[in-house]
Symmetry: C2
Subunit: 711 residues, 2 copies
C-alpha cells in the first residue's frame, strides 16, 4: 500500500497560508522557492486582503479556492492553526505543513495547543507535518519551500529534526558539487506524521536511493524499527541519532521537546533492523553518498592499493580499528601485481606501488582490476595521489589519468565489489577525479571517512546476506499452566516468585537447575534424599522480601539434612527480624551452581521501542563498564548470536582466561527462548535472569525475577 | 645551545648533487623550487659533465666548489653515497640530505650500506638527513627543495616520515587558504639526525609556532620525550603516531623499516611530556592550526553559543564525549543574555539564540563577550550559521556580519580565553569568515574537528598550569644494603627472591606487610607466636621455581602452628615433585591480605623509551581489557595521580561497588616510590608488584618480583 504522504510531499497544488510579499517572511520565501525553481503545479497564495502576491492570484482563505489543494503550507502563528485546519478540511487539503513553534517544545500551554491542533486535524481529515518544522522540499518536483539556493536534485532523501542540520548538509553537498537531494522534511514535533511514516515514503519514493535521518528523539520507535526492517532490504537507511551523552540529551530536549531515550539501546536496535548508524555529524553525508552510489560489500576483507606509505599505514590502522581486515591476497594476485609493478613494490596488503605509477598512473586501474578479481577481496580501496599525478609530476600525465578514470568507472560497472577511492587531491577537484564523480564514484577527501564508508558497505552487505537466510525466530504455543501463574500472581497483586519464574522458564524448555521447596520441617527429609551430599543454596520465598540477601534470606554451601534444618531456621529467623510482617512461603533449595562465567539476561518494555532484550556479563561489566547489548524482541538467531559477539568483554566468553570457550549456541538458544516467552506472555512487564552461569556445555539460570504487568 | 641543524635547514648555500635539466628528475625539481621561489643563497649544481644547469654554473664535484656549501642535497643512488659524503667533508658541507632509498628499510644488504653511509658521514663530519627521505623545505628561507606549488609560508613546522602525508597536508592547507608552513623535513631512516633533533630545531626556529610530527616509528624515543618536555612549555608539539593497530605497525615497518612500538604506551608517554596526540589523520592540520593560533584554555568548561538547535545538540554530545563540560553559566551571564535575546532563547548552556540573531547577527559578538566574561567559562564556542546570514537571510546582513567579524577579532585579542568557531558556511568561504581567518582566528567546517581543538587547548592549558607548580619527583639516596641484594643475586646469577624484593621496597618506605621465613622446623614456633591465630599465606622460596602456584608452592588461609607445619611439608613435597633439582630456601609466611581492590604496578625498560611504569587494575582489566596507564620514569606527583585517573575502570577505585573509595594519595605515593627506586637502582631490569591490594586507608604489596640486570 503506497504511503499516504505522496500527495502531501509531491503535491500537484499548494496553498500558502500566510503568503507574503515581505522578503523577511517565510510565506515570501516559499513563494520565491516555487517560482524560481519553476514548480509546475498550482500555487494558491492565501492572504486576508491581497488580491495577488508576486503576480499570482491570491485568495482570502482556503475555503475560497477554486479547487482542492493537495497540500497547505501554514506560515501563520500557533494560535491560528486549529481554525485554519478546519478550513483546510473543508477545502479537501490532504496535508498541512505547520511552521509555527510554541507548542509542546515550549511549555504545558503549548502542549495543550498541540493537542487542539491534532484533534482539529483529525476532525478535518488533514494529515500534519510538524508543527515547529523548518518545512520541506521535493527537488525533483521543484517544490523548494525553503528556497535554498544551489541545492541540486539528487538521490539522497533527508529527514532532519533540525533545519540547520539540513542547511549544513546542503552546503556540504554544494561544496562537493556532485551530491544532491530528493526530498527533505523537517518532522518537527511529529504530532501526527512521524519518522516511521517518512521512512515508508522515502522507501517508496523512486528518486530516493538512500533514506537519511537526523533524529533527536523518536516518538514512534517501534514502528520505525518495523518499517526500517522492510525498507533496509532494498534501500539503505542512514541514521544520525543525537543524544549520545546526557548533555546532548538535555540540549535535544530543549530543542524539540523530544525524549532522547538510551542512545546505546537505540543504536543497537537500529542496527538490528539493518539501519546504518553514523556516529559523527561530519560523516552523515559521506556515508549516505557512499551507500547510495556504491554496492554493498560481501564482507570486511579490504585490499588497500596505495602510492604512498604514509597513507597505506593510516588506512591500515583505521581499517583494523573499524573491525575490518587487511585480507591476505592470493598467490595469483601477487604474481599478477609483481608482473606490472617495480620490484621494490610491497605486495603484501596494503599494496604500496613504491613509485611504479609515478610516470604511469594508468597502472592503478590494472592493479584495481587484479585485486577485484581476487576471491578473498570484498572491497578495493584506492588510497593516494590519483587525480594529482598531472599536477605533481608532469602535466602530460593528466590525459593518462583521465583514461584511467574512465577505466575505473568501467571496472566499477563490471565488478560486483565496491571500489572506494580516497585522494589527497580531492580538495582540489582535478579533472580525473571530477570524471570519477560524474560516473557516480564518490571520491573521499579523508581516509577516516572513506573507512567509515567501507565499514557501512560491509555491515550492510553482511546484514543483507543474513536476511536472505531463513528467519529463525521461535514462536511458542502458550502453555495454560504458565498463563495461570500470571493470573494467580495478578490476583494476589504480586510478581512471580522465583520458583514460579523458574518453572515458567522450565516449561518452555529453558535450562533451570532442579529445585525443591521446603515449606515445612517434613520436606527436609525428601529434599536431603534428593540432593544427597551435594552442596546446596537455600533462599527464602516471600513476596514481601525483595532483597533476599539483605534480609539474611540466603544461605550457601549447605550439605546434609542437619545443616539444611539449621539453615532453614536461621533464614526464617533473620527474615522475621528483617520484616516481621513478611508472609513467608517457604525456602527454595537448589544445588550450588558449578563455577562458570556469570552473564545477565534482562527484558524491559521501553516506552518508545517496546520489549527489548539485554545481554551482558555480570558484575562490573554491567554495573560499571555498561558493556551490554540490546535487541528488540522478537529476536532471530542472528540477533541472538550477534548480541553475544557484540560485547567488548567477549574474549572472556571465548575462554582466554585459561578456561574453555562457553557454549555460545546454548546461550543464543536461551536468548531466543526468552524472546519467545516474552512475546507469548504480554503479562511479563520485566524479566531478569541474573546471574545465568555459562559453561562450555550449556548454562544454568541461577536466579530469575519476573515482574508482572498488573494492568 | 642552538641546534646544529640551523645551518642545514636554513642554509645560505646549497649544493645539488645530481642536479639535472631532465624534468622527471629530483635534481631538476629541487633546482626549479629554488629558482622559482627566489632563493637568495648560493646554488651549486653538481654534475659530472654539464657546465651549467638551468642557467646556473655547474661543478663536476663538491670538492671543486669555490666555497663551502652549508648543505648538500644528494639525488644520486644509494651506492654512490659513501664516496660523495667524503667529498662533502672535504668541502666543509655541514649536512647532507640523502633522497636515495634502498637501505635498512629494504633488506640486510641495505642495512649494511646504511652503516657504511653513517660511518662515512661521521668520518667526514657531515650530519645526515635521511636516507630514504622525501627531502625538506624552509619556506621563509625560500628553500623549497620539493618544488611544491601553492604552499604558503606560515607558522606550522612539520616533520613527516611520509612525503605523501606532507603533500596531503599541503593540499589541505591550500584548500583552507590561510594555513602555511615554516619548515618541513622528511627524516627518512633517521640514521643520524632523528625526531628529537628536529623537535629541538623547531622549538628554536622563530618562524615556527607549532611543531607537528607524523611518526611511524621513533628511534630516539627517550630523547624525544626529554626535548618535548622542554619544548612543549613554550611551543605546542603535535604528534600523529601511526601503528595504533598491528596491521598499521606492519605497514609502517614495510614503509620505513621502523619498529612502531606499543601505540598505547607511546601515546601515554607523549602526553606525559605535554605533547598533543592526534588520533585521526584528518585532524592533524586543524589541531596544529588551532594550537598555533589560539591561546590555551584554563580548563575544560565550554560555553556553546548556537543559532541552531541541531548543531547545539551535536556540539554538546561531542564535548561530553571528549571529557569536557558544558559549564553552568552564572546568573549574571544569563541575565545579560536575557537582556539582548528573544524570550524563547534557551539560556541554559548550550545557548540557543532561537532566532534572535536572524535579522541581527551582530548580537553574536555581544553574546560571546558576555560568555567570555563569565569566570566559569574557559572556552567560548560559536556554532552555526555565522558568515552565512548574508547568504541565507538577506544580502544587507553581510555588512553587519563583517562588522561582527571585526568585533570578534577584537574580542579575541582582548580576552584570555580562546574563541573557537564552527560555521556551516566554512566550505563556502564567505567574506565575514575570511575576515576572521585573516585575523588569525581559525574557522572550522566540522563540529567534530572543532571539539578536538577545544580538547587540545584545554589539555595543553591544564598541562602548563601543572608544570608551573613545584616539580614533585622523589629522589632517593641509595641504601647500601639494597645494592648488596643486587650484587648478591648477580653473583648467584638469579633474580631477587620475593622476600628480597619486598625487603628492598620496605627499605625505601613502601608498605609491605610483615613476613617471616621458615627455613627449618624450629622457625615455626616463633612464626606462630608472631602471627597468633591470624590466617596466613605460605609460599615457597626458590630461585628455581618461577610459577609457585603451579608447583603447589602456595598455601592460603593457614592458622596455627600445626596447620603451618603441615602446610610446610606439603609445599616442600609438591615442589620437590615439581622439580627435583630445585634449591629450596624456605617458606615465606605472611598474613592473608584483607579484602580490597587488586591493582598492578609494573616497570619495564623499553628499548625506545627507557624505563616505563605501568599501572592498572588486576585480573581481566589488564589481561583482557588492556586497561592500563604508562608513564616514563621518573614520575612526578601529577604523573602518578593522572595515571590512576586515566584507567577506564577508575570508578571501581572510586568505590562505586558499595565499598569506600580507595586511598588515591597512598597509591600515588607508591607509584612515586617505585619510580624513585627504579631510578636509583639501574640494576632492576623489570619489576612487578602483582597484586597490590588497595584499601581506603593505604595499600599492601602482596607479591613482588624484581628481575635483575645480569649485564
Amino acid at each position: 500500500m503506497p504511503s499516504l504522504l505522496h500527495k502531501i510531499l509531491a503535491p500537484d497544488s499548494i496553498a500558502i497560508i500566510g503568503a507574503s510579499a515581505d522578503p523577511t517572511k517565510r510565506g515570501f520565501k516559499a513563494m520565491t522557492g516555487l517560482l524560481n525553481d519553476g514548480y509546475a503545479g498550482s500555487i494558491y497564495p492565501i492572504h486576508p486582503r491581497a488580491s495577488e502576491i508576486m503576480g499570482i492570484k491570491a485568495y482570502p482563505s482556503v475555503t475560497a479556492l477554486p479547487a482542492a489543494a493537495d497540500m497547505a503550507l501554514i506560515c501563520t502563528p500557533a494560535n491560528t492553526i486549529p481554525s485554519l485546519l478546519k478550513q483546510c478540511g473543508e477545502n479537501g487539503v490532504k496535508g498541512a505543513i505547520i511552521l509555527a513553534s510554541g507548542f509542546g517544545e515550549v511549555d504545558e500551554d503549548g502542549a495543550q495547543l498541540e493537542q487542539e491542533v491534532l484533534s482539529a486535524a483529525q476532525h478535518a481529515g488533514v494529515r500534519l507535518v510538524g508543527p515547529n518544522t523548518s518545512g520541506m522540499f521535493n527537488l525533483h518536483k521543484k517544490v523548494n519551500l525553503l528556497a535554498l539556493d544551489n541545492v541540486q536534485a539528487g538521490d539522497i532523501g533527508i529527514i532532519s529534526q533540525s533545519g540547520n542540520i539540513l542547511l549544513a548538509l546542503a552546503l556540504e553537498a554544494e561544496s562537493n558539487g556532485h551530491i544532491g537531494f530528493s526530498t527533505y522534511v523537517g518532522p518537527g514535533n511529529q504530532i501526527d506524521i512521524g519518522f516511521a511514516d517518512y521512512l515508508q515514503y522515502l522507501g517508496e519514493e523512486k528518486n530516493t536511493r538512500v533514506a537519511t535521518f537526523y533524529v533527536e528523539g523518536f516518538k514512534d520507535g517501534r514502528r520505525f524499527l518495523d518499517v526500517a526492517r522492510e525498507t533496509s532490504r532494498f534501500k539503505p537507511v542512514v541514521v544520525y541519532k543525537s543524544g549520545s551523552t546526557e548533555a546532548g540529551q538535555k540540549a535535544a530536549s530543549s530543542h524539540t521537546g523530544s525524549l532522547a531515550g538510551s542512545y546505546h539501546m537505540t543504536v543497537d536496535l537500529l542496527r538490528q533492523v539493518g539501519v546504518t548508524v553514523v556516529e559523527n555529524s561530519d560523516e552523515i553525508l559521506p556515508v549516505a553518498e557512499g551507500l547510495g552510489l556504491l554496492q554493498q560489500a560481501k564482507g570486511k576483507k579490504i585490499a588497500v592499493l596505495a602510492d604512498g606509505g604514509g597513507q597505506a599505514t593510516i588506512a591500515s590502522d583505521r581499517i583494523s580499528e573499524a573491525g575490518m581486515e587487511l585480507v591476505e591476497l592470493s598467490d595469483a594476485t601477487r604474481d599478477a601485481l609483481r608482473d606490472i609493478l617495480f620490484p621494490q613494490a610491497s605486495l603484501v596488503n596494503p599494496i604500496d606501488v613504491a613509485g611504479s605509477t609515478d610516470a604511469n598512473p594508468g597502472l592503478l586501474v590494472d592493479c584495481m582490476e587484479i585485486l577485484s578479481n581476487d576471491d578473498n577481496v570484498d572491497i578495493v580501496f584506492l588510497v593516494g595521489m590519483f587525480g594529482g599525478y598531472g599536477i605533481r609530476f608532469a602535466k602530460e600525465l593528466q590525459q593518462e589519468e583521465l583514461n584511467c578514470a574512465n577505466a575505473i568507472a568501467n571496472l566499477a560497472s563490471m565488478t560486483d565489489k565496491p571500489l572506494v577511492i580516497y585522494s589527497l587531491y580531492a580538495h582540489v577537484k582535478p579533472e580525473p577525479l571530477e570524471r570519477l564523480r560524474k560516473a557516480d564514484l564518490p571520491v573521499y577527501d579523508s581516509i577516516e571517512h572513506a573507512v567509515k564508508i567501507m565499514a557501512a558497505l560491509s555491515e550492510r552487505g553482511e546484514y543483507l546476506q543474513q536476511c536472505s537466510g531463513v528467519e529463525q525466530t521461535i514462536a511458542l504455543t502458550v502453555i495454560p499452566e504458565c498463563s495461570q501463574l500470571f493470573s494467580q500472581a495478578c490476583d494476589q497483586n504480586r510478581d512471580l516468585f522465583e520458583f514460579e519464574a523458574k518453572s515458567l522458564l522450565r516449561s518452555y524448555g529453558v535450562d533451570v537447575p532442579v529445585e525443591l521447596i521446603i515449606r515445612q520441617d517434613a520436606d527436609i527429609k525428601t529434599t536431603a534424599e534428593t540432593f544427597g551430599n551435594t552442596p546446596l543454596a537455600m533462599k527464602v520465598i516471600s513476596k514481601d522480601i525483595l532483597h533476599k540477601s539483605d534480609a539474611g534470606g540466603v544461605k550457601l554451601d549447605i550439605r546434609g539434612s542437619e545443616a539444611m534444618q539449621q539453615a532453614r531456621l536461621n533464614i526464617l529467623e533473620s527474615c522475621r527480624q528483617y520484616n516481621a510482617e513478611a508472609e513467608i512461603e517457604g525456602v527454595l533449595v537448589t544445588p550450588m551452581a558449578r563455577k562458570g562465567i556469570e552473564v545477565i539476561v534482562g527484558m524491559s518494555r521501553d516506552p518508545i521501542f517496546g520489549p527489548v532484550l539485554m545481554f551482558g556479563l555480570g558484575g562490573i561489566f554491567v554495573e560499571i563498564l555498561k558493556d551490554v547489548a540490546f535487541r528488540a524482541i522478537p529476536l532471530n538467531r542472528n540477533d541472538a548470536l550477534s548480541m553475544i559477539d557484540q560485547i567488548k568483554a567477549r574474549k572472556i566468553l571465548e575462554g582466554t582466561r585459561g578456561g574453555a570457550a562457553i557454549d555460545k549456541e546454548a546461550l543464543a538458544e536461551l536468548l531466543l527462548k526468552v524472546s519467545a516467552i516474552v512475546d507469548a506472555h504480554p503479562e511479563i512487564s520485566e524479566l531478569d535472569l541474573n546471574p545465568v552461569i555459562a559453561y562450555d556445555d550449556g548454562y544454568a539460570v541461577v536466579d530469575a525475577r519476573v515482574i508482572v504487568d498488573q494492568g
